[in-house]
Symmetry: C2
Subunit: 199 residues, 2 copies
DNA sequence: GTCTATAGTGTGATAGAC
DNA sequence: GTCTATCACACTATAGAC
C-alpha cells in the first residue's frame, strides 16, 4: 500500500531532474507541463517547487549540469600531445560521451532558445569552452603542418556538427557497434582536415 | 487611416504563413500562440482559421512546402554523372539552398516532434527522399572506386549533418562569403570520402 | 515534504454579427 | 474575410493544512 504523504527529499530530487530531462527531450520544454513532470515522478505539481524555484531554472540546471560534466570528463582523460592523435582522441571521446547521453545532448541543442537571457549566456560560455578544446587542437595541427585547416572556426564548427549529428540516428542497439562508429567517423574527420588542394 | 474590416484573402494567406514561420523558428511551435501569429499579421486570432483548420496543420504545411520545394529545386538543376563531380554539386547546392532559408531549415529539424503521427510520416518520407539523393551518389562513388565509403548510410548521415550544421552559425553578413564556405566545405567533404586507411 | 485548493492568466478553437 | 465575444480547459505558481 503506497504512502500518500512523507519525506523523500533524497530520492525525489533526482527523480524530478530525471523526469524533466526525459520529458523535455521527448516533447520539448514548452510542450511539457509541471503537472506532467509531477505525474512522472509520482507527486502532485505543488511538490516540485521544493526542488526548483520555477520551470525555467529546472531547464537551466539540466543544461548546466550536462555542460559542466562534459568539460570535466574531458579534463579527466589523458590527451596526446601530437595534434592528429589529439584529434582522434577528441573524436572518440565526443562520440562515446554524447552517444551515451542522447537526452542531455538533445535538449542542449534544442532548448537553448527557451533559456532566459542570463541563463543562455552562461550555457553559451560553457559551450564555447568546449568548442575551444577542438579549436586548440586544430590550431596546433595547422601550425605543425599536419593538418590542412584554412579557417579554424569553420572547421571546428563543421566537425562538431558532423560528430554531434550521430545522435540524430545512432542507437546503440543497432547493427553497428560504438567502436565501428568511432572508426568510421575518425576516417572522415581525419580526411576532412587532411585534404590537400586539388580540383 | 487603416481599415478595420474587409477582404484580404490574397495577401493575408501568405502573411499568415510567413508570420508563423518566423515565430515558430524564433520561439518554437509550442511556445507560440495563435494570438501572437495573428498580432504579427495584423488581424484577430479568429481570422487565422480562414487559412488553416488548426495550428498543427499550419506547422505541417510549412514543413511540407519546404521539403517539396527542396526536392524540386534539386530536380531542376543539372547533375554531373561523375560521382565526385556530383558530390561537389550536391555539396554546393545544399549549402546555397539551406543557407538562404534558415528559418525553414530550423523548423524542419526542430519541430518534427510536434507533428502528429500521420503528418510526421509524410515529412519523414520527403526527408528520406532527399537523403536518398546523397546515398545514390555515394553508392556510385563507392562502386567506381572513386570514394572510400565503408557504410553508405553512416557516411550520408554524417555528411548531411556536417553540411546542415552550417546553419547553426553562418550568417551571410559575416566575414566569409558563400563561395568561401562552399569551397571549404567541399574540401572537407571530399576529404571525408577520400580518406584511405592508415593509422 | 507533500498534499489540496485556488488565484490569475493564457490557450485553441468556435459562433454569430457585419 | 474579419470582427468581437466566449466556451471550456490548461497553465505556472502559491497558500496553508497536515
Amino acid at each position: 500500500m503506497a504512502r500518500k504523504q512523507g519525506s523523500h527529499s533524497d530520492i525525489t530530487g533526482p527523480k524530478v531532474q530525471a523526469a524533466a530531462l526525459r520529458l523535455f527531450a521527448q516533447h520539448g520544454f514548452a510542450a511539457v507541463s509541471m503537472r506532467q513532470i509531477a505525474s512522472e515522478v509520482g507527486v502532485q505539481a505543488g511538490a516540485l517547487y521544493n526542488y526548483t524555484p520555477d520551470k525555467q531554472t529546472l531547464l537551466f540546471e539540466l543544461l548546466r549540469t550536462h555542460m559542466e560534466a562534459l568539460l570535466k570528463a574531458w579534463d579527466s582523460i589523458e590527451r596526446p600531445i601530437d595534434p592528429l592523435a589529439a584529434l582522434k582522441c577528441f573524436t572518440e571521446f565526443h562520440i562515446a560521451y554524447h552517444s551515451d547521453r542522447p537526452d542531455q545532448v538533445f535538449i542542449s541543442y534544442m532548448e537553448l532558445r527557451n533559456l532566459s537571457a542570463e541563463n543562455f549566456a552562461q550555457i553559451q560560455a560553457l559551450r564555447r569552452g568546449y568548442e575551444q578544446i577542438l579549436e586548440d587542437i586544430l590550431h596546433a595541427g595547422h601550425d605543425s603542418g599536419l593538418m590542412n585547416v584554412p579557417d579554424i572556426r569553420v572547421t571546428s564548427m563543421a566537425l562538431i556538427a558532423l560528430l554531434t549529428g550521430l545522435n540524430n540516428w545512432f542507437r546503440e542497439s543497432g547493427r553497428l557497434s560504438l567502436a565501428d562508429i568511432q572508426g568510421q567517423y575518425w576516417l572522415m574527420v581525419r580526411g576532412a582536415v587532411a585534404a590537400v588542394d586539388q580540383t
